[in-house]
């Protein structure tokens, strides 16, 4: 598939700091691309540069092979769904969605047909004459998306549009948004600080930190094979240990826990282990397994997401372990000692 968007060596300097530092990436036609980062990492600035609301200091944004230098936002083939949605409060649903089409001076019948089709698609049929202030959060969300999609943009930019919704609705909208994107095939660029949103919806996720991209990868790879310490710590739950020394085949954590080392990376400073990578009572015949004993401090029950808070016996350091909810582990109680195994590949050192 061809690249619809290419961002080349993009930087943005403000008076006293640099918000975006030499960012490069491409987005495939029809893809769902997320930019994931904590607040203040520069992701909103990046999005606003692509939309044309802010001027890049260096570099270029290329959409469908055409440089966007000097092209104002209203002339770019992109539309944006704002964080606060920015629905026009003095207009009803139909007027909001028709606003962009009216600016194109289309015939009234054509506008109506497009608006009706789009409202049908986002499940707002019958709400045409409602005031946007009378809608629920999820419905307002859909109006904002419909208002942008009806313009048939090459790329739809979404600036944390689910941020204001409550948890349950957000879970629901995540799925809905992904299905909608698949159905209409428009390229989405979605920025968020919520890793679950990024992982669930995207084909590709870029993790942004301090104005730079740490890693661009599929959600699965990002989770399984983080390339940097920041990605390992930011995406998903993880256990983090600081290393005091590495020598030969082993490494020693700050607390004094000595364990085998997966690869000869002499400069490694940190060790990351995912809670679900830990095997409870591993069989003795497994290869490449590091084994150690822990003592259970508390059981953090959360349905299928239940975890054990434990202490590594060797160093008294804390370790979170996922607890599968099957009958095998029903007998586990606080204070018990457990034998734990972890595959060498699952020890991530940086």
């Amino acid at each position: 598939m061809s690249n619809i968007l290419e961002v080349k060596n993009l930087s943005k300097h403000f008076d006293d700091f640099t918000a975006v530092k030499n960012v490069n990436f491409t987005v495939e036609e029809g893809g769902f691309f997320s930019i994931l980062g904590s607040s203040g990492c520069g992701k909103t600035t990046l999005l606003r540069i692509i939309a044309g609301f802010q001027q890049e200091s260096e570099g270029d944004v290329i959409i469908r092979g055409q440089s966007m230098k000097g092209i104002p936002p209203e002339k770019r083939p992109v539309n944006i769904v704002f964080q606060n949605l920015a629905l026009f409060p003095m207009m009803n649903v139909r007027e909001n969605v028709a606003f962009g089409l009216k600016r194109q001076k289309l015939k009234k019948a054509a506008i109506n047909a497009k608006v009706n089709e789009m409202l049908e698609r986002v499940g707002l049929h019958g709400y045409e004459n409602k005031k946007v202030t009378d809608l629920s959060g999820g419905q307002r969300q859909r109006v904002a998306i419909a208002r942008s999609l009806v313009m048939n943009p090459s790329i739809l930019l979404l600036d944390e549009p689910l941020g204001a919704l409550d948890r349950k609705l957000r879970e629901h909208m995540k799925v809905e948004l992904k299905l909608l994107q698949k159905e209409i095939g428009t390229t989405f660029i979605y920025i968020t600080h919520d890793q679950s949103e990024a992982l669930v919806m995207s084909d590709k996720v870029a993790v942004m930190h301090d104005g730079q991209f740490e890693q661009i990868d599929t959600p699965r790879n990002l989770y399984k094979n983080p390339k940097t310490a920041f990605v390992a710590g930011f995406v998903g739950d993880t256990n983090r240990f600081e290393l005091q020394s590495t020598a030969g085949d082993s490494m020693i954590t700050q607390g004094g826990w000595t364990l085998q080392r997966p690869e000869h990376n002499n400069s490694a400073k940190e060790l990351y282990i995912r809670p679900e990578a830990l095997i409870l009572n591993p069989a003795n015949n497994l290869n490449d397994i590091v084994q150690f004993d822990v003592t259970i401090k508390t059981i953090l029950f959360d349905g299928s997401n239940t975890k054990l808070s434990t202490m590594v016996n060797a160093s008294n350091e804390e370790l979170l372990i996922s607890l599968p909810q099957n009958a095998q582990f029903d007998g586990i109680e606080e204070g018990h000692s457990l034998n734990i195994g972890v595959h060498l590949n699952d020890l991530k050192c940086f």
């Binding site: 939309a51 936002p73 944006i80 964080q83 003095m90 600016r103 194109q104 942008s148």
Partner: protein, 288 residues
């Protein structure tokens, strides 16, 4: 429980009492008395009898209803002018300049209010007179040879009315513009709207409640003003309030003055009602 309810009732009446006193003694009674006296005419014996005479007098004397119509027309014009002048100021103060600058400029706007209308009107007389600052300046630099007659014309009257009322348009418009999220403007821009579209479709409709309440205040202030038309307008610019003043204090025909006062009240209420209907605004929304 019973006790606290009683306490609440007493507090409630204590709080409502001054309002009621104000309403009854300052508004209801004087208006009722004016209304009654507007229907009284002295008969041949010098006794007051019921009659529509005061109102008939208004409609039969051309000068009265001509002034009436002129006052209405000029008040509407000044209100429109106030909007044209005030809107860019309000927009600049809320959306363009920094908060710090806005505070300073706001003080500058407020200063004329502190000195009172009479002083500002005299200020304009100094500026606009035949030997005034503006004419003197224009003659010194040689643009004109003879002073332009600006004072005691409709022009000077409109300038004075505009100057004293404009601020009352700026403030309500500013308060609605303050709540206008910049992302609405960006969203409109993103959807392909031109600057003109953004102004007419987003900014003006959004600030309509503020514009309406500003317009009502300005219109009321202007149509009921006496000083500016009297001092700056001169003989050529009769204002309806001057007719009322003449009746009360020059011809001492209080009954006709009362009738004229009521006509002015009906005129301003009528025009505001009509304007609210035409602009689709609701009074309770405007007040909020």
């Amino acid at each position: 429980m019973i006790n606290s309810k009683n306490n609440f009732n007493i507090t409630f009446y204590l709080l409502i009492f001054p309002v009621l006193i104000w309403l009854i003694f300052m508004i209801v009674i004087p208006h009722a008395e004016l209304l009654v006296s507007s229907f009284l005419v002295e008969d041949d014996l010098g006794e007051l009898v019921f009659s529509f005479g005061n109102y008939i007098e208004f409609f039969t004397q051309k000068i009265y209803w001509l002034t009436f119509v002129k006052t209405a027309a000029y008040s509407i014009a000044v209100t429109l002018l106030a909007f044209i002048v005030a809107f860019p100021i309000a927009f600049y103060l809320t959306k363009v300049t920094s908060r710090k600058n806005a505070g300073f400029l706001m003080v500058l706007l407020l200063i004329p209010l502190w000195v009172g209308e009479l002083v500002t009107v005299y200020g304009w007389m100094v500026l606009l007179g035949d030997n005034g600052v503006i004419n003197h300046f224009l003659m010194t630099i040689g643009i004109i040879n003879e002073p332009i007659n600006m004072l005691y014309t409709n022009f000077s009257m409109v300038v004075g009315l505009l100057y004293m009322s404009m601020l009352f348009m700026v403030i309500p418009v500013m308060s609605t513009l303050q709540s206008l999220d910049d992302s609405l403007i960006e969203a409109a821009c993103d959807l392909g709207a031109s600057k003109w579209d953004i102004f007419t479709r987003i900014i003006i409709p959004y600030s309509m409640p503020g514009i309406t309440s500003g317009a009502i205040i300005v219109f009321m202030l202007v149509i009921g003003d006496y000083l500016a038309p009297n001092l700056l307008g001169g003989k050529n610019s009769l204002w309806f309030t001057e007719q009322i003043y003449n009746n009360f204090l020059q011809t001492f025909n209080w009954n006709e003055g009362a009738a004229f006062g009521f006509l002015l009240l009906m005129l301003s209420s009528g025009i505001i009602w009509l304007a609210l209907k035409l602009s689709g605004q609701k009074l309770e929304k405007v007040g909020a």
